[in-house]
Structure formats: structure tokens, C-alpha cells
Point group: C2
Chain length 602, copies 2
């Protein structure tokens, strides 16, 4: 036993107790002939008082920051109490101490506001993890994990482990593969998700499955992507979409309560994908604030009638014109509106410019295109945009896709500027009725928007079965009946982030075969890759569906952060490297030989 | 909503309720003009009654076993109640039914006593998982998982995920490796255990860590080994061996209580490795029964004095002579003793023969070597072996290692024959004080018996530091001081199976470097492979230790089975293949090109 108590628990009621603590030296303050040391462990910080005699000992063999100490002494009331920490009423009068281990001077300070940059903190991650700021994230992650498990357990879900060494069936993202030594020339793949296995478990009758499980994707890493990531992976049998939405909004609300002590009583809003795109330009809208898009013109069609009467070429030539009414910004200066214009012209946004209308509080209107719109026309426009006095209407015009994306970004940007995206406010949203297919221009073929196991909406099944998937005229793919098919799929959105997504699955062999064919797979290919699933569907597959939550991101958002990396104990950098252990790395020639592979470097 | 209730919950108190159920057809029994169907789901079986009219419908479109049905009807009291199932008091008078999915005739019966062989059940694992016998195993596994998590949570452990894509540092078993595309020519390795990461977490101050986590070993598969397996992986800081033993015998006892409702009140016995080998010939003795080994002669030294007086060449020439006294077998016939002789002569045991002494209940003695031992000599031998009247003393003689192993096997065999290894009796044991090193004849070097991070016993640290690890004379390695060093390591044994093992770790850089050197690693090699850990030890590493439990095996033993495969949802066969999904498999040329590797088949 190295300690009788932790550094976080001693209180005024413990005064006079003989205790032994162990932990790390946080600070050392010499004060005349005595020494104060703050000793830190996972649970807190306790002040130690080294008397004159012990201080003399320390003078001879000085301690340093991060030394590991074991100390014994008497709990004593402090004269100058520290109200900021739970142990702030007491200190320990040290009678004995032992250095359990020394420490070199850390390359950065172990404090909330550390002086260490990203790179050095990644390399010394084991020291970064000591900082309170990081520790809180890791603890929050555990709390979310625990809350999810408890909720799912209460609802009869069963955690069943699915295999990590599976079969490579690349659809979409690349697989990580693992050469097999015992079956030379063959490879396992690491799962991108346990999708097919959880469906098999439904076929097996385990009607409520879950797993908090690592998944793997060999993608070029964008910021905040990790090659290995964690999912809360769930599946249910004998359910329809509504059953799943209710079950899992319940789970997220339970997590809010357990982890953040938030009572999320309001029902979770539901929105179709079409509405989300129309009103927010985005399939994962942040609904903590309104500022919906006004669709003045879409794909050449004037929705705002005032556009029929103008000679403003920019508007007349544009495929799409969209606007947002930003509250309390009608007094923006020229400098401020110029800033916004520069913002939309940045390459990430890529617009040619920005038009605006100031809806002044006195009722007057002032626009950047007064030459082409008179007061009455502006008034009608402001009305169409549902602008209120004091609003600044921002208008973008251009190609449909880019313009819609840009107005969505601008909305988020303005929301952020105005402080409407409060990190401690949480707003959930279900987005439903996604398109089943997306058109892949390069391959002139359909790809599954969610994945190939997603069922079409019941009313669209006939459309799928009765039409040939072949796209005769690539330019007119939007006219193909497949482009109209809706998926029985849903995403859960939290504060503008997709935190989970799922679908009702196909469970009939014929429909699944039709889906594989629609995606351009030959019979042989679908049989080779997914024969086991097609086979399973012949032996009494029940209707089923499920969802997977991005666990890393969920934790990050609950922790009020944008970065998932802060919530992973040992993350990789943007090149997929673990710079602490220096992985990946070369391996022995002998290992390659045993695996019967060799390098083939370009 | 596909159902209002499950097939396991309706009782006599539900009579007259209108209900909807969904599930699988277990059996169909036509009874005159009506039909009984047993409908099965995860929760149980409910009897359905189809009236005359519906039976006519069934006649036109017959159902089959494993069809998926949705049925609605009224709960009704049964006339012939079935006391064997919880729903046996009621049946459902069906008013409506719908076939949700058909089923082909399954390749084996979905029953406890299935007619399917191993291979077919592996191929159709999704059907095998429907069988109650398998479902019970999967449910037990979840119960063990849940109990372990709850216990560890109550004791302040925190679940922290460690990475799966790490660095290859083969020591002992082979790593599975994963070629990196973004860092071509380099490889990740899949973890054989999270050992170094959990130690880093101790350095980071997370003083109680756990994880239930997949680990990977590319070994030639013996029966009941899996390339991927699951550990309950734990580590604690500021602890000594006794703290760990107490904490984790508490965990196993908690699991006994939660999962099997067993109150394991007795303290867990502790035994040194030396005692285990001496008394049981085995480092994981099954202590559900006594039958300890009598060591008559060990490595040439007579412990039983009677051996000094005999002219029995077999005994005189043997290096080691060991015996067990098997109760209530003194009346074994010639045929029975011959059977035992054959048993020890099998190649797996490899002994030349077996001597025996019958200690008859009337006090007389009869041996297989009466020519060499008179009555008095036999009496002394029986006394030395602590034999009781009615015992059959079985004696093996030969080379120390083989003979000790053989007597250990014979003891287990006789224990099994006598019904002393009761599957529902659970007996825990800690084995401690293992040798730190084993001698590797091939390499003429020391290898770590547990792993290179295990600390020597405190009293042996000086022996390790002050002696050169080089073995000058390979024949006399036992005389090298390193062969006497004991490890601060411990195994938990349950009914003769090692279910967990761990150690107090090295936490000082110098000692860890000495250990790597002792194992024949150069400075460069140890720096390349474990530099991050050596580095971490410089920044205030606390004393720490831990343990890992083989989760699959723990579940199997609790489930009363010898085979871990029965407790894994989707196991691999002895060639490391998943025969259901057919993995591993070949991958596309394009994938190989992207990874910049190629096949190099011999």
C-alpha cells in the first residue's frame, strides 16, 4: 500500500489524521525556512508542508517538478484556505517522505495553459495526458461510454463482439488490409464498420445488439480524421424507422443527463433532407439559431417574383439566388460589409461577390444594388426574405451547388460572429429521407449515399425494382427515376455536426441483389463479396435497422471542442503517424518473408 | 412497431389481451383442422393456435421452419399447460398473420441437440447462433463483460481506449502487420496486448485503467487458440502485488456472484510457482481435488529413503520418480491397470510404463514390482505417498521434465475419471513467484517468462544488476544467478486453467535497460523498439503493476465448456479462416499497388 488516501479527498473533517499520500510534484514554494509542495494525482491536489528540518534535507537533495513522492504526515487546518480546490481547507504536516522516482524537466509545463506546442505535446503525449484539461476530456469520454452502455443495457441491448480480421470488400473508403501468414497470398481486412456482422446477428435473432467498437478507414486524412475511430454501433430487429429514432434520441438525452446534467425535455425535431437543403443549404444544419435561407431563385426558376422585373444582370444570369437575413447588423459599416465580401470570395467559399440590403430600424432600406432595385422592390425583397428592421440581408448568386454551399457556410459564419452558436447549448435534430443514390460522374454509375444495405422507402421499392439502373444520358441523370428514390435512412445532427447515421436495411435477397446490380456489381462480384449475407437472407431474415454514432465526435461536442483528437488518449497525426511510438515503421526482412510479400516502392 | 410483446413474456395474467408477436417458426403441428405453431424469438417461445379458417389458408401457402412471422391475436389459457417454459400457461388464438420472410430449409436443425456437424455450423454460423445452447453462451459472455465493468467502475477504474494501429516490436509471438499506404514501405502492427500503452497511462497518472479489448497474435493455431482474442486488461499505480491480488480476486468473485449467483466466500489460496510444480507438476494446478504428487526422487536425489535399499533397476536408473495416490481404486482389475499403462505410453504422455501399488482396504499391499519391494518396503512407500486404505498408488519414473508433466496429466486424468473435476465447482488459486527468465537453448540466451516489463522481486534486483547475463556454459545455465531470479508476477488459475496473469512492472529506466540487455537486445534495438517507454520512465514514472484476463477462456470456464470458440460470436477455424465470410481472401491488384507491396509466394 503506497497510500492511505488520494490527493483529492482530505477535508477539514480529516484534521489530525495520520495519512500517506503518493503523487507528482506540481509546484515547490520555499517560504523562509519551510517548504510548501503541491502534490498532484488523478483525484486532485493537496498542499504539503515540509518543516525546517525536512527543508534542510530538500536543500541537499532538491526535488523538481513531476518528481514522484510518497509522503506521510498529519492533516492540519490551513491558515490561508484555498476555496478553489476541494482540499483547500487543509494541508499535510510532513513527517516522512520518499522519492519514488525522479523526473527530468518536462519539455512543457503540466498546466491548463501549457507552453507546449501541438507537435511536442503529441510526441510527449504521456505528459500531455497529465494536464487537467486533457484528463477532463478522457474522463468525459469514459462517462459517455458508461452512460451509453447503461442506457442500452436497460433497453435489453446486448454487447456482442464482432471480428476485426474480416474480408476486404472495398465500397467507398479503402480498407486497411492484413497479410495472412497461414494463408499466404491472402489478406484480412480491418472493418470499416461491423455492418454485415450486425445484420447477421439480426438474422440470428439477437434483436438488440450494440458495441462500442474501433473501426478503420484508410483515407487521406483531412483535419480531424483518424485512421482508427470508435463507433457506438447498434442494430434492432422488428422495428421501423420511428422505433429507432425514439430509442436513440432517448440514448442521447440520457447521455446529456448523465454526463452534462442537462434535462433535454423537448422532442427532437425531425426534418427531411430536402427541407434541410432548402432551408439551410446543408444536410446537417445547426438549428441553435434560425436565419433560414430565402430561396429567391433556384436552378433558373424565380421563386421571388420581384426578380422578373429587374434588369440586374448578376441576378438575371445566375442559376440560383439565395439570401439570409442577419439580425441586428443593418448598421454594418462599409469596412464590415467589405470584410464579408472578402470572406465569400475566399477560395474555400469561391463566390464572385455578395449583395446586401440593409433593413434599417427606421424603416428605410439601403442595398448594394440600388441602381437596379427601387425602394418598393427592395421592400418586396425584404418581405420575401422575412427580414425584420435591423436585419442585414446577405445575398449570394451563382451556380446552384456552390451557391447553396456558400450561403450555408455564410449562415454558420454569421451565426458564429453573432454568438448564436453557444458551445453549452445543445440542439438535436433528425434529418430523414435522404436520396438512396448519388450519381458518380467519373464512373457514370450510381453509388449508395449511405451504404448498399440501406432500404429504399417502402413506396420507392417498386421504382427501384421496375427500372433499369443504366444511365443512358449522363447529362440527364437527374431525370432517371433512381435519382428520386428516397432512402429509409436518417442522420442525427447535434449543433451542426452529424453525430450518427443509420437506416432501415434491406432484408430480402432479391432486393439486395437488385441493389448490388444498381451499383454496377456483377452477380459474380456480389456473390464473392457478400454471398454470406445474401445466403443469410434466405433463412428467415427479419426486418431490421440500426444506427452508428461517431463516438469520438460525440465526446468532442459534449466537451465543447471542435477537435476529436483532444478526446483520444493516443491519437495519430494528419499523416496517420503516432509520433510518440513512431509508428508505422519498417519491419524485419524476416517478417516480410514469412508473410510472403515484398515491398514494391515506386 | 412489429410487436407489442416478445415471445418470452406472456403469462396467465395476460389472458384476453390483444397482442402482436414477431419471431421464427420453431415447430408446426397440425392437429385435425387446427394448427399449433411454436413461435421463437430471443426471449422465448410462445404457442400459437391457428383456427380452422387460418389453417385452410396455411394449407394453401404452407409455412416452414424458420419462416419469420408477425401474428396478432388474443392471449388465452392453455388446456394442456407446459410447465417447462415460462409462457407454458398460455397460447395465442391467432386472428391475423403475415409472413415477414420465408426461409429455405436450414442445413441443420435449430435445436439444442442439433444434427449439424462442426463444419456446417461454422459455415452457417448465423443459424448456429439461433440455437439456444449457443445463445446462452453469448448471453453469458455479455453478463461477464457487464459484471467486470461494473466492478471496475465501482473501484474507480477508467476505461481508456488504446490504439490498434501500433508499432511492430515482436518479442515472443508474431505480430499481425498492416501495410501503411500513406507511409509506403512502413507497417503498423496490431497489438498483442496494450501493455506499453497501459504503462504509459500509469506514467500519465490515470492510476486505475481497464479495457475489455481485442488483441492479436499471429501464431500457428493450436486447438482452441484464436488469432484475435479478448482481454480484460487492467493496470494500477502505487500498488504492490498484494493490492493487485486482492483487487482482482474481488473482481472474479463479483463475476461469480453476478453471473452464476455463487458466493465465493473462501479466501483465494496462494501458492508459489515452486510449490505448484513440486506438488502438482504444473504451474496451473486444478485444486478442486487433492491427490498431490509424492516426490520419491527428483533429479537423481532420493527423497524417499526406501529407494536407497532397492535393486529395482527402473527406479535406480530414473532421474525422477513421482507418484500419486488415487482414492478408492485399489480394486482396479488387471484390465484397468493395463488401460492406465497404455494411457501413459501414448505419445502425448510419452512414458515407458507405469508402476503401481494397491493399498487394499484390508491393509495388504500389492504392487507391480513385488519382486523388488517386500511388504515392509511397500508399506514405507505407501506411507511416504500418504496413501490411505483403498488407494491405488500410481508411480512414474523417468527424466525430470517429462515425468513431472506426465504425473500432472495423469493426476488430471484420474481426477476426471473419478468425477473430482466438477464443472459446477469453481476453485480459484493465485500462483506467484515465477522465475523471471527462461533459458532459450536455441539462442543460448535468456527470454522473459512473462514479458520484458515484469519486475524482479525486490530482493532479486541486485542480483540482476550485479551479474552479467552472458551464459558462458550453456549446459550449466541453471547455475547462472539469473536462473534463480524470481519475478514479481502472478497468475490466476481457475479449475486448472490460467485465466489471468500479470506482474508488478519495472518503472526505472536503468532497470528496464538492464532487462532489455539481459534479453540480448542491443542499446540501439531497445531504443528503436521501446525508446518511448524508456523516455517516459525519465519523467516521473510511478510504481505500478497490472493483470490481463483471457476473457474468452474465462467465459468458457464459467459456461462449463472447454472450448473458447463456443463463446465467440464469429470464431475462426484452426487455419485462422472465417469460413462463413470466407476470409482471408485475395485482394485486388489495385490495392496491392496502392500499398506498394507485392506478393512473393514461395
Amino acid at each position: 500500500m503506497y497510500r492511505t488516501h488520494t490527493c483529492g479527498e482530505l477535508k477539514i473533517t480529516d484534521v489530525n489524521k495520520e495519512v500517506t499520500l503518493a503523487g507528482w510534484v506540481q509546484t515547490i514554494r520555499k517560504f523562509g525556512s519551510i517548504t510548501f509542495i503541491d502534490l498532484r494525482d488523478r483525484y486532485g491536489i493537496t498542499q504539503l508542508l515540509f518543516n525546517e528540518k525536512l527543508t534542510e534535507q530538500l536543500d541537499k537533495n532538491p526535488l523538481g517538478r513531476e518528481f514522484v513522492l510518497q509522503v506521510s504526515g498529519t492533516v492540519s487546518e490551513r491558515s490561508n484556505k484555498n476555496k478553489n480546490i476541494p482540499t483547500g481547507d487543509i494541508e499535510i504536516l510532513i513527517s516522512e517522505f520518499k522519492v519514488l522516482n525522479k523526473s527530468a524537466v518536462p519539455p512543457f509545463t503540466i498546466q491548463d495553459d501549457t507552453d507546449g506546442g501541438d507537435d511536442i505535446r503529441m510526441k510527449y503525449r504521456f505528459l500531455d495526458l497529465r494536464r487537467n484539461a486533457v484528463k477532463k476530456n478522457i474522463e468525459l469520454r469514459y462517462a459517455v461510454n458508461r452512460a451509453a452502455r447503461n442506457y442500452l443495457h436497460q433497453h435489453n441491448f446486448i454487447d456482442i463482439e464482432t471480428p476485426f480480421l474480416i474480408k476486404s470488400t472495398p465500397e467507398g473508403a479503402r480498407d486497411f488490409v492484413v497479410p495472412s501468414r497461414m494463408n499466404a497470398g491472402e489478406f484480412y481486412a480491418l472493418p470499416q464498420s461491423p455492418q454485415t456482422f450486425k445484420q447477421l446477428l439480426m438474422v440470428s435473432g439477437y434483436d438488440r445488439y450494440y458495441q462500442i467498437v474501433k473501426c478503420f478507414r484508410d483515407e487521406d486524412l483531412r483535419a480531424d480524421r483518424q485512421p482508427e475511430f470508435t463507433q457506438i454501433d447498434c442494430e434492432m430487429a422488428f422495428v421501423e424507422q420511428d422505433d429507432i429514432l425514439q430509442m436513440f434520441e432517448g440514448m442521447i438525452k440520457f447521455i446529456f443527463k448523465e454526463v452534462k446534467n442537462i434535462d433535454y425535455a423537448a422532442p427532437v425535431e425531425r426534418m427531411t433532407w430536402e427541407d434541410a437543403m432548402w432551408n439551410y443549404g446543408n444536410d446537417k444544419p445547426d438549428i441553435r439559431f434560425e436565419m433560414k435561407i430565402a430561396n429567391l431563385k433556384v436552378e433558373g426558376k424565380n421563386y421571388f417574383e420581384g426578380l422578373n422585373k429587374t434588369e440586374f444582370a448578376v441576378f438575371n444570369n445566375a442559376e440560383t439566388i439565395v439570401a439570409i437575413s442577419v439580425p441586428a447588423c443593418s448598421d454594418y459599416s462599409r469596412k464590415q460589409t467589405d470584410e464579408l465580401i472578402d470572406w465569400v470570395k475566399r477560395p474555400q467559399i469561391g463566390m464572385g461577390g455578395l449583395a446586401f440590403v440593409k433593413v434599417n430600424t427606421d424603416g428605410s432600406l439601403k442595398s448594394s444594388f440600388d441602381k437596379f432595385f427601387n425602394e418598393q422592390q427592395l421592400k418586396e425583397l425584404a418581405q420575401y426574405c422575412k427580414a425584420n428592421p435591423g436585419d442585414l440581408i446577405l445575398i449570394l448568386a451563382g451556380k446552384e451547388e456552390r451557391t447553396r454551399k456558400a450561403i450555408s457556410e455564410l449562415r454558420l459564419y454569421m451565426g458564429g460572429r453573432l454568438g448564436l452558436r453557444k458551445p453549452e447549448e445543445f440542439k438535436l435534430l433528425w434529418v430523414t429521407d435522404f436520396p438512396l443514390f448519388e450519381y458518380d460522374e467519373e464512373g457514370n454509375r450510381w453509388v449508395a449515399r449511405h451504404h448498399p444495405f440501406t432500404s429504399p422507402k417502402p413506396e420507392d421499392i417498386a421504382v427501384m425494382i421496375n427500372n433499369n439502373p443504366i444511365i443512358e444520358n449522363a447529362d440527364k441523370y437527374l431525370e432517371h427515376p433512381y435519382s428520386k428514390i428516397k432512402a429509409n435512412a436518417y442522420d442525427m445532427v447535434l449543433n451542426g455536426n452529424e453525430i450518427g447515421g443509420g437506416s432501415i436495411r434491406i432484408y430480402q435477397r432479391e432486393l439486395q441483389e437488385k441493389m448490388f446490380a444498381a451499383l454496377g456489381m456483377s452477380k459474380e462480384e456480389s456473390q464473392y463479396k457478400f454471398g454470406f449475407l445474401l445466403g443469410a437472407f434466405e433463412y428467415g431474415a427479419p426486418p431490421h435497422g440500426g444506427i452508428a454514432f461517431g463516438f469520438d465526435r460525440l465526446c468532442a461536442i459534449l466537451g465543447g471542442s471542435e477537435s476529436i483528437r483532444d478526446f483520444i488518449a493516443f491519437p495519430k497525426n494528419n499523416s496517420g503517424r503516432d509520433v510518440m511510438i513512431d509508428a508505422p515503421s519498417t519491419i524485419d526482412e524476416k517478417q516480410l518473408e514469412e508473410l510472403q510479400i515484398k515491398l514494391n516502392l515506386k
